[in-house]
Structure formats: structure tokens, C-alpha cells
């Protein structure tokens, strides 16, 4: 069983806790392997003993001997093992998520959970960058998250980087993560939050600090493609898109839906649901609920195909 587990974990994907790319995830993966190997040995030993005991043709133990087995096997051994294990985990706890201190000096990301998407705000040195449904992090720098919810309880989880933390209405929870390996990972909502809970994911891009800084700096300004099609930008506002979505540098200032300021540069649309291209953007705009049940965005089935394509192309251009 154990070799099977080990073999399977070797080819883990982008959302695997066994393929850690963050400090907490690494520590916890180590803890996991220690426990798994130990647990496997204990399981095999106990079951072997039980199988031996259930053989008919063997010398029956005395009552005293059997009683001693209860004491050593059922009491002393577990107490020793559990004390060690508990101490290990308790020793781990304070160092895994160090809040305050230098952590607060660096990057701070606010996440607000919504049915079924993520509002993301980056804050550093007084600068504020609003985004949605994607998280970008620098390698080797501890990042503090502030987690809130606008409706239901959600849970923010990037398995490759660390454990999860709930987003609870009326509370602000904190999480602190330190990515150690650049790459693209996947996070997902882990607390059942309604009909499309399964479709509430997000890509996580971990890049070198310089690359990250450049990315963040670019996000403080309106998108490059904003003026690509003034007609489309006009349409976006006229058709009511701007009532719910914000696009930096335009009259679109809505806050009910995800911020679309640089939507063209995101890896996915619909919170990790679909690849980001003109075609999927148009599909999503035309009928969101058919792709994501319970989406609060109204359908735009009446929108002429040409207008739809124009808006989609413009959005894709917001880099």
C-alpha cells in the first residue's frame, strides 16, 4: 500500500499538497510522510498480531500475558508515540504562520470571497492594485493574506503552498504563506459554499521577485489595450457591464462583480473555469449561468453577435 502511495504521489499535479512549493506545505508534507510511514508500520504490526491471534493451531497465551499485552500495546506504546507526535506538531505550529513583525512590512493581499469568485486586492507601500480570480506571489517573500467574505463561508486554499483558511462573513481571518518555488499552481475554495462551489478555483502564479514587482507596478496603471477599441469600451458601459464590473481608466466602476481592469492578462476566466480567450469570454458573457450555475451575472443572449465579439476582443486586449 505504501509503495503504491509513494508511486502515485510522484506525478502529482498543480493542486497537490504532496508536491510542495511553499514553506508550510513542505513542512506539512514532511509531517505527513513521517506519520504515514509510522502509521503504516503500526497498522501492519497490529493487523499481523490480530491475524496471528486468530489462528486456531497455536499455543494459547496466559491471561496474565494477554493482560500485559493490553498494558504495553494499548497504553504505553500509544502514549509514547502520541506524546512525541503531539509535541512535534505543537513545536511546528508557531513557526508555520508567523504573523506580525517583518511579515506586515511586505506584501499584503486582501481576498474577499463571493459566490463563486474571488476579489483580490494587493497592498504594498501604500499602493493598491485590485484584481480578481487570480493570485500572483513573489518567490521567497512572506505574504500576508486578509480573508473576508461577502456572502457565504468560503475557504482559501493553495495546496502547493500551504494549508487553508476560511473566509467567514463578519470576520477577518489571516493567513501567511511563503512560496519557495516559481511556477503556476491552482487554488480552490474548500468550504462548501453553494451550487457552484466546485467551480470556484483560481490560478496561482509564483514568479521571481523582480518579475513580480514589474507585474504589480504595471497593474497600478490602466491596461495597455484600453484604447484599442473606444467603441467597445463605450459598448461595455452602455450595455450595463460597468454597473457591476470595474475597468480602471473607464467609467465602468461597478463593484458587484469581479474587477476586469487587466482581465486579458489573466490565465483563466470564470474563477479558474475556462481558458482565457475571445471565444470563451463571449460564451461567458452571453450565458454565464449555463457555464456556472448560480452565477449572479444576467445572461446577454440578446446581445448581437458582433457586439459580443467586439466586447470580448476588447476585454481580451486589456493586458
Amino acid at each position: 500500500m505504501l509503495p503504491a502511495l509513494a508511486a502515485l504521489s510522484a506525478c502529482s499535479g498543480v493542486q497537490s499538497a504532496l508536491d510542495p512549493a511553499g514553506e508550510e506545505a513542505t513542512q506539512v508534507a514532511t509531517l505527513f510522510w513521517v506519520m504515514t510511514v509510522g502509521g503504516g508500520v503500526i497498522w501492519a504490526g497490529t493487523v499481523a498480531l490480530a491475524l496471528y491471534a486468530s489462528r486456531w493451531k497455536r499455543h494459547a497465551a496466559t491471561e496474565q500475558g494477554a493482560g500485559r499485552l493490553i498494558f504495553w500495546g494499548g497504553v504505553v506504546f500509544p502514549v509514547v508515540v502520541l506524546t512525541a507526535l503531539l509535541s512535534y506538531a505543537l513545536w511546528l505550529m508557531p513557526s508555520l504562520r508567523p504573523f506580525g513583525g517583518e511579515a506586515t512590512q511586505g506584501l499584503r493581499i486582501e481576498i474577499v470571497g463571493n459566490q463563486f469568485w474571488w476579489h483580490v486586492v494587493y497592498r504594498r507601500d501604500g499602493a493598491e492594485v485590485v484584481s480578481a480570480n487570480e493570485v500572483r506571489l513573489p518567490v521567497g517573500q512572506r505574504v500576508e493574506f486578509a480573508l473576508e467574505s461577502a456572502d457565504m463561508i468560503h475557504s482559501f486554499w493553495i495546496p502547493a503552498l500551504g494549508g487553508k483558511m476560511d473566509l467567514i462573513p463578519g470576520r477577518t481571518n489571516r493567513l501567511s504563506l511563503l512560496a519557495t518555488k516559481a511556477g503556476v499552481y491552482r487554488g480552490q475554495c474548500a468550504e462548501f459554499c453553494g451550487i457552484s462551489h466546485a467551480l470556484m478555483a483560481f490560478p496561482v502564479v509564483v514568479s521571481e521577485p523582480a518579475e513580480f514587482d514589474a507585474w504589480l507596478e504595471a497593474r497600478t496603471r490602466p491596461a495597455i489595450g484600453l484604447d484599442g477599441s473606444p467603441a467597445a469600451a463605450r459598448l461595455f458601459v452602455d450595455r450595463g457591464c460597468g454597473d457591476c464590473h470595474r475597468v480602471d481608466g473607464t467609467e465602468a466602476r461597478g463593484t458587484a462583480g469581479p474587477d476586469l481592469s487587466h482581465v486579458g492578462s489573466r490565465l483563466t476566466i470564470g474563477a479558474g473555469l475556462l481558458p482565457n480567450d475571445d471565444e470563451t469570454l463571449a460564451r461567458f458573457i452571453a450565458h454565464p449561468a449555463s457555464l456556472k450555475a448560480g452565477s449572479r451575472m444576467p445572461a446577454y443572449l440578446d446581445l448581437p453577435a458582433a457586439e459580443l465579439a467586439e466586447i470580448a476582443a476588447w476585454l481580451k486586449g486589456l493586458q
Binding site: 497537490s16 497490529t46 494477554a66 493490553i70
Partner: protein
């Protein structure tokens, strides 16, 4: 019978035959459709068990539906809405309609013969519990056929479950299950009194079958675990129906309070499920090891220890909610500690097998398979109990795997072992060994194929409760394998169902004790309803092994209480520790009143779901009327004479009041559970106080005057009630009646004063959580006061009708006991709502 008169042998045989015929007639089931009014523990146990099994199969089908949907990525076999209803109902039904009720069923069926009693002490309460469970269960399960099943997960977290999106399903869950929880608490009362007070003479606590020890602990746990959920349900339903903001952060509430209350119930619940199943193993393993259990005291340690520790684990379901890590760590520690008594239990079984010679029968196969699976679930439990690991594993398929290893290994396999083991007690024949072994291997392999890959899927990031998942992120094959395993597991279960329904054609009528077991239940004759022909004197943990003449003496009617001359159903009451005979208890027989009460109470809950207020009110009045009729005609009867000869020169009283009466115990136990629910509400009050800087939210409080007035009035009513009991004992009937009237007036004024506090301050319970929690506490106290009034008036009526006399005064004792609890409730309520805000 009389040992002293010794006529001719023939005459003795004739006497015995007549005695037996009469006993049989007294305990006989009604025939025709009136069969369903039976209250006998065998019938109730069988119905209970069959219904629970049927619910389990239904929930199993839902699980197969879930697995079918997840077989391949991006599947669209069923809609997300149906998927969410299916998994919610799967969990809900398995937990509330199978896992807990099946043990109540087994206990009601097995305990009387195992303890050498004729019946449980309150057969009608057992029947009432069954019918409540059945009605509530059908209501909850039926909802999915109308697309109205609960869809927010079996844990029903607000705000999702308080929102519009939850629909009527949330009300069905809350009200349907509250109704079923009532049945569980009824069962707990019945089991505790049965085990403590209805054992055969000589069965001291150190000779009690281990099954009884486990069940005693479990019943006690129910009293402390279920009431917090009932309190939570109350707050929840107040928010859903009347917009009282207990879980709404906008108005001072907090969704986390529900999580606390739910898991204070939810984690002990796991052990409430697990311990009775282990109790079955503790009966099966000695039998097939051919020797008494090694480490009897260790089992008692394990059962009691687990029972206690299980109440210190609840926050490990909330490790990711952002509570301070220091708090999480306490619960991590307790969750690790609970592994110790669990390990002790496993090693007791291994030690017993080592010290004996094991016959590897079908029940043993299921037992061993269950243990192997359970140990693995236990080990992953030790892992997820550590907060850092749980931050990764929480709400993933790793947890799904863990909990199924625990529950299927620790509960389902032992229950199947119990089914194969105890089947001969149901109709005198064994189930098929061949089918049993085939079913075992199908279930065992199917189970592991289904659930082992889920560990890996979870660690690879697959969250729970997703109706679909993308391809190519490492979950595809694992899910397909799981689904195939589920089919194999399903086929295995189906084989057992076939065996149960078709076995009669294959198996010959077997012997009475086919496994050569040592405990009393194997004296039971499936075609007889009387429990035991006569009640034995027990002198061993395994009487059938150590007391060679016992079986024959019992069957020949040479034990205690061999007759039923007065045509009444009777059983013995004995002392708690040493089981010395104390009283002959006349228990209730066949009756419609149990079904009537269950049906009316069920109507109350169903009508509330649909907000049919008047129907609900009418049904509520009918229910109270039914209960009063039940009590009036079925309890506290003054016997035709004081004592009855139970044989062997012992005469016992037929009437007892106070501590000696089973009714007093029932009241004590019920009120303990009631007190726990009340404590949960008080916890809510202080919970809101901790999370806010100003927990009143600027709202006016009830002031100190009215709460203190209410407290004073209730205290007076309490002392007057106690006075009535004493005066009555001294023989002043008129003074007793006057005091009872005075007590009722005082208590009624107390209720009014209680409500006057928040009323005169115009506290609006929808404005903020502070007025809402104050109102709830005050209403709780006032309703209890009103019930107290009802009880005082009931005693008055009994006295006027000549059914309560200075010598026969059990009602007054029980009502006085109620008022002790009422006094504590009043003291805490009014000190908290009246004084706490003042001293702050």
C-alpha cells in the same frame, strides 16, 4: 409459583403449563393490523432496525449516485442541485437515520434478554421513540422526490443554510431531525434506566455484560451531545422563521456559533455511533475465542474514557476557521489523547483472542475485517487531529476517506458481524455462511478500492462536496477507481440483503444457542415475547458457561417472577450496584397512545416546516392531551395490593416513589438532557459577549427588576411545591391541594414576570442579537415554568381523583424533582439576563 407447596409431580407440570400459558397470553402481540400498536421490545427493536436498514440502503443508493457523477471529470449525469441534495441527504440519513437509530434498535432488542429482564422499563416510550423516528425519517428522505431535500451539507452551516438558496430543505432538515433527536433522547432515558435498574438479581456492576456497559456510557453521552444541537436548531429556526439574527454578522450574530453547537454534538456523535458497534464486538469476540474477555476493567476504562474525551474534540472540525492557534492546540491534544482508550479496546480484543482459541466464523470475519479497516481510519484520525496537517487535509477527500474508514470499519462491519451473530435470536436460524463470506470479501475489497484512493485524491487537492472536477490535474483515475469499488461494495451489501430476505428456504431450524455463547440473551426463544420464562439469579459474567443448571431452571420457570397471575406485564427492578431485588415494576402494554403522540408531535414539526401555524398549534394541543392521557392512564397506578411474591420466598413492593421509582430516574435523566440544552443557550449568550466589545450593540436590556421578580416568584413556587410534597406525606390532603394551587399561581406569575423584562424594555429581537438571545433565554425559562404549572395542576387533579394519596405520591416526587431543575434554570437565566449586563 410456590416452592413450599409440593403436590404431585403431574400437578406441578400442569400448574407450570397453565402458568406458562397465562404468561404467554399477557405478553402476546395484538393480531391483525393492531399488531402495529405493539410496544414489546422485540417488535420495536425489529421495526426500528429494519427501518434503519432501509434508510441505510436508501442513503447507499444516493452514495452510488454521487460516485456515478464523479466517475469521470466534467460529467453532467446529474445537475449540481441534485448532486448537492444527494450528498447532503446521504450524510444526514447515514448519521441520523441509520448509525444512531440502528444501535437504539439493537439495544432495545437485546438488552432485556441480556440483562435477564422481561422488558425495557418504559416500553411505550420506546414505541413512541420508534414512531417518531419513522415519521421523521420518511419526511426527511421523502423530500428528495420533490426536489426539496436539504442541499447545504449535513452540517448546515449558516449563512448558506439560512439563506434563500437553502429553500425549504433547510427547514425539513432542522425540524425533521429535531423530531428524531427527541426519539434519541427518549431512547437514552430508556437505556439508562433499563441498564441501571432492570438487571437480573445478582448481576452486579462487575458482572454486567460489556454491551450494557458500553450502552450505559453511550446513553449518557446522548444526554450531553444531542441537546446542544437541539438548542442550535432552535436558534437556527428562529432565524429562518422570524429573522432573529443569531448567525447574522450584520446584526451582531456570528455563523461560528452554529459550528460550535453543531460540532459539540457532532463529534461525540461519532463515538455514540462507534461505541455500540464495538460493544457488539465485545460480545462476539469472547464467544468465538471460547473464553471470557481479558481485561473487562480495561474495556470499562476505554468506554468511559472515550465518552469523556469525545467532548473535548469538537473544534478539530473548525481548525480552518481562524480561531487562535492556542485554542486549536487544546483540541489537537485531546484528539490525540482519545486514541489511547481506542487502542486499549483494540488490544483487549487481540489479547482475548490470544488467550483463547479462535473459531473463524462469519461474524468473526466481519469483526476482523472491521478492525483492520478501523485501525487505519484511527491512524489517519491521529494524523488529521494535528492542526498543521489538518490545514491541508481539512475538507478534502482525505477526510472523506478517513471518516469512511472510521465509520465503515468501526460501525458498519461490526453491525454486519452483529447481524450474522444475532440473527438466530430473530428467527431461530443462522444466516448463510457461504453468502456471508462472499458478501464479506465483496464488501471488504469493494470498500478499500473505493476509499483508499480517496486519501490520495484529497492530498492531491481534491476538495469535498464538488459535483465536478477538471480533467488532468491528477484526479481522473483515482475517481474512476473509487466509483468501480463502490459498485463492488454495493453488490456485497446487496448479497446480504438477499440473504436476509431469502434465507428461510435454505437453512434448517437451528439450535437455541448455536455459537455456544455465555451470556443470557441466548436463552431467548424467538417465538416468545416474554423475554425470559423466569428471571434467573446471576452469579457470573458468562452465566451460560458457569452456571450449568441456569438455562434449564429459567425455562422450567424455577427462577423469579415466573407467573403473571394478575394479568399484568411485570419485570423486576433491582439496585444499581449489586442488583438486589427492590420492586416489581408493572410496565405498559399494547397501546394506541404512543402512535397518537408520535403522529401529533410529527404533525407539529411538519406543519411548522410549511408554516401552517394553526395546524401546528392544534397538533401541539392534541399532543399535550395525548401525553396527559398516557400519563394519567399508564403511570402511577395504585396497585391492588402492596406486595407481590416473586418466588424463592421474596416479596417485593409493587409501588415505589422518589429515588426508588423508575419514573424519578426518567425525570432526572430527561432533565439532565434538558439542562444541557439550556446550558448551550447560555453558552451562546456568553459567546456573543466574548466576540463583541459591546455585546448589547447599544440595545436596552431587560433591567434588573423584572428578572429578579421572576426569580423570586419561581423560587417561591419551588418551595411551595416542595412543601406540598412534605405536607402530603404527612397526610394533610387538603393543605397539599391548596399548596399546589398556590404553587401554580406563583409559577404562572413568574412566567409573566419573566417575559415582562424584555417586553417592558421593548427589546426587538430582530434588531440585534443581544435582544434576541435575551428573549430566547427568557422564553425558555417561561416555557419551563408553564410546564411546571401543568405538572402542579396534574398532581392536583390526581389528588382530587384519589390517584395520588399520602402513601402513593410518586407524581409529587417527580414534580418536585422537576422543580429543582426549574429553580436552577430560573436562577441562571435571570442572574444572566438581569444582573450580568449591570455588573459589566
Amino acid at each position: 409459583m410456590s416452592d413450599h407447596a409440593r403436590p404431585g409431580a403431574g400437578a406441578v407440570n400442569e400448574d407450570k403449563a397453565a402458568e406458562e400459558a397465562q404468561l404467554r397470553a399477557v405478553w402476546a402481540n395484538p393480531t391483525g393490523w393492531r399488531y402495529w400498536t405493539s410496544v414489546n421490545n422485540y417488535q420495536i427493536g425489529l421495526w426500528y432496525g429494519s427501518a434503519a436498514f432501509a434508510f441505510m440502503l436508501f442513503a447507499g443508493l444516493l452514495a452510488l449516485l454521487v460516485r456515478a457523477q464523479l466517475a469521470v471529470p466534467e460529467n453532467d449525469l446529474i445537475s449540481p442541485e441534485l448532486y448537492n441534495q444527494a450528498f447532503t441527504l446521504h450524510g444526514t440519513v447515514m448519521m441520523f437515520l441509520f448509525a444512531v437509530p440502528i444501535f437504539e434498535a439493537v439495544a432495545i432488542f437485546l438488552l432485556p434478554p441480556m440483562l435477564g429482564a422481561r422488558e425495557m422499563p418504559f416500553p411505550r416510550l420506546g414505541a413512541f421513540g420508534f414512531w417518531s423516528f419513522f415519521i421523521g425519517g420518511v419526511f426527511v428522505c421523502g423530500s428528495i422526490f420533490f426536489g426539496a431535500a436539504p442541499n447545504s451539507g449535513w452540517f448546515m452551516y449558516p449563512p448558506l443554510a439560512t439563506s434563500e438558496q437553502a429553500g425549504i430543505g433547510a427547514d425539513i432538515w432542522l425540524l425533521g431531525l429535531s423530531f428524531i433527536e427527541v426519539a434519541s433522547i427518549a431512547a437514552a432515558v430508556e437505556l439508562i434506566v433499563g441498564i441501571m435498574k432492570c438487571r437480573a438479581p445478582g448481576m452486579r456492576v462487575n458482572l454486567m455484560p460489556l454491551f450494557a456497559w458500553y450502552l450505559l456510557i453511550v446513553a449518557g453521552m446522548i444526554l450531553f451531545a444531542f441537546p446542544p444541537l437541539i438548542a442550535g436548531d432552535l436558534l437556527f429556526e428562529m432565524q429562518r422563521m422570524f429573522d432573529w439574527p443569531f448567525f447574522d454578522p450584520e446584526r451582531g450574530g456570528d455563523p461560528l456559533l452554529w459550528q460550535h453547537l453543531f460540532w459539540i454534538f457532532g463529534h461525540p456523535e461519532v463515538y455514540i455511533i462507534f461505541l455500540p458497534a464495538i460493544a457488539l464486538l465485545a460480545m462476539i469476540i469472547p464467544t468465538f475465542s471460547g473464553r471470557p474477555i481479558v481485561g473487562y476493567s480495561w474495556i470499562v476504562l476505554a468506554a468511559v474514557g472515550t465518552g469523556f474525551l469525545s467532548f473535548g474534540l469538537w473544534v478539530h472540525h473548525m481548525f480552518a476557521t481562524g480561531l487562535p492557534q492556542i485554542s486549536l492546540a487544546f483540541f489537537s491534544a485531546a484528539s490525540e489523547a482519545v486514541a489511547i482508550p481506542t487502542a486499549v479496546q483494540i488490544f483487549v480484543f487481540i489479547a482475548t483472542m490470544l488467550a483463547g482459541r479462535v473459531i473463524f466464523s462469519t461474524p468473526m470475519l466481519f469483526a476482523m475485517g472491521g478492525i483492520a479497516i478501523f485501525i487505519m481510519g484511527g491512524l489517519t484520525g491521529v494524523m488529521v487531529a494535528l492542526a498543521p496537517f489538518d490545514w491541508q487535509a481539512h475538507d478534502t477527500y482525505f477526510i472523506v476517506a478517513h471518516l469512511h474508514y472510521v465509520l465503515i470499519g468501526g460501525m458498519l462491519f461490526p453491525v454486519f458481524a452483529g447481524l450474522y451473530y444475532y440473527y438466530p435470536l430473530i428467527d431461530g436460524q443462522r444466516m448463510s455462511d457461504r453468502v456471508g463470506r462472499l458478501a464479506f470479501w465483496l464488501m471488504f475489497t469493494g470498500f478499500n478500492i473505493t476509499f483508499f484512493p480517496m486519501h490520495i485524491a484529497g492530498l492531491r487537492g481534491m476538495p469535498r462536496r464538488v459535483y465536478t472536477y477538471p480533467a488532468d490535474i491528477g484526479w481522473d483515475w483515482l475517481n474512476l477507481i473509487s466509483t468501480m469499488g463502490a459498485v463492488v461494495l454495493g453488490i456485497g451489501m446487496f448479497a446480504v440483503v438477499m440473504d436476509v430476505t431469502l434465507h428461510r428456504r435454505r437453512q434448517p431450524r437451528g439450535e437455541q444457542n448455536p455459537w455456544n455463547a455465555g451470556t443470557l440473551e441466548w436463552l431467548n426463544e424467538p417465538e416468545e415475547n416474554w423475554g425470559v420464562r423466569s428471571i434467573p439469579k446471576v452469579a457470573s459474567r458468562y452465566p451460560l458457561w458457569d452456571q450449568p443448571t441456569l438455562a434449564e431452571d429459567v425455562r422450567a420457570g424455577r427462577g423469579y417472577l415466573a407467573d403473571a397471575k394478575e394479568g399484568r406485564r411485570e419485570t423486576l427492578v433491582t439496585s444499581v450496584l449489586d442488583a438486589e431485588p427492590e420492586q416489581v415494576l408493572r410496565v405498559g402494554g399494547t397501546s394506541y397512545v404512543t402512535i397518537f403522540c408520535a403522529a401529533t408531535l410529527g404533525t407539529v414539526f411538519v406543519a411548522l416546516t410549511f408554516k401552517w401555524w394553526l395546524v401546528s398549534l392544534a397538533a401541539g394541543i392534541a399532543f399535550v392531551g395525548g401525553v396527559l392521557y398516557w400519563l394519567w392512564t399508564g403511570t402511577g397506578e395504585i396497585p391492588d395490593r402492596d406486595e407481590k411474591d416473586i418466588g424463592h420466598g421474596i416479596s417485593l413492593p409493587l409501588y415505589a416513589s422518589g429515588v426508588k421509582s423508575t419514573g424519578w430516574w426518567a425525570m432526572f435523566i430527561t432533565m439532565t438532557g434538558d439542562g444541557t440544552a439550556f446550558a448551550s443557550l447560555v453558552f451562546g449568550y456568553f459567546f456573543f459577549w466574548t466576540i463583541h466589545t459591546d455585546f448589547t450593540g447599544g440595545q436596552a436590556g431587560p433591567g434588573a427588576f423584572w428578572p429578579m421578580a421572576a426569580l423570586a416568584l419561581f423560587a417561591l413556587a419551588w418551595s411551595v411545591t416542595l412543601g406540598a410534597r412534605e405536607i402530603n406525606r404527612q397526610g394533610s390532603v387538603l393543605a397539599t391541594r391548596l399548596l399546589l394551587v398556590l404553587g401554580a399561581v406563583l409559577a404562572a406569575c413568574g412566567c409573566a414576570a419573566a417575559l415582562a423584562g424584555p417586553w417592558t424594555s421593548a427589546m426587538d429581537p430582530t434588531a440585534h442579537v443581544y435582544p434576541a438571545i435575551v428573549w430566547i433565554l427568557v422564553i425558555w425559562a417561561a416555557i419551563h415554568g408553564a410546564v411546571g404549572v401543568l405538572m402542579q395542576l396534574y398532581c392536583l387533579a390526581r389528588s382530587l381523583a384519589g390517584r395520588l394519596t399520602p402513601r402513593h405520591d410518586m407524581e409529587l416526587h417527580n414534580v418536585a424533582l422537576y422543580w429543582h431543575f426549574m429553580l436552577v434554570t430560573a436562577l441562571v437565566t435571570f442572574a444572566v439576563v438581569g444582573l450580568f449586563p449591570e455588573v459589566l
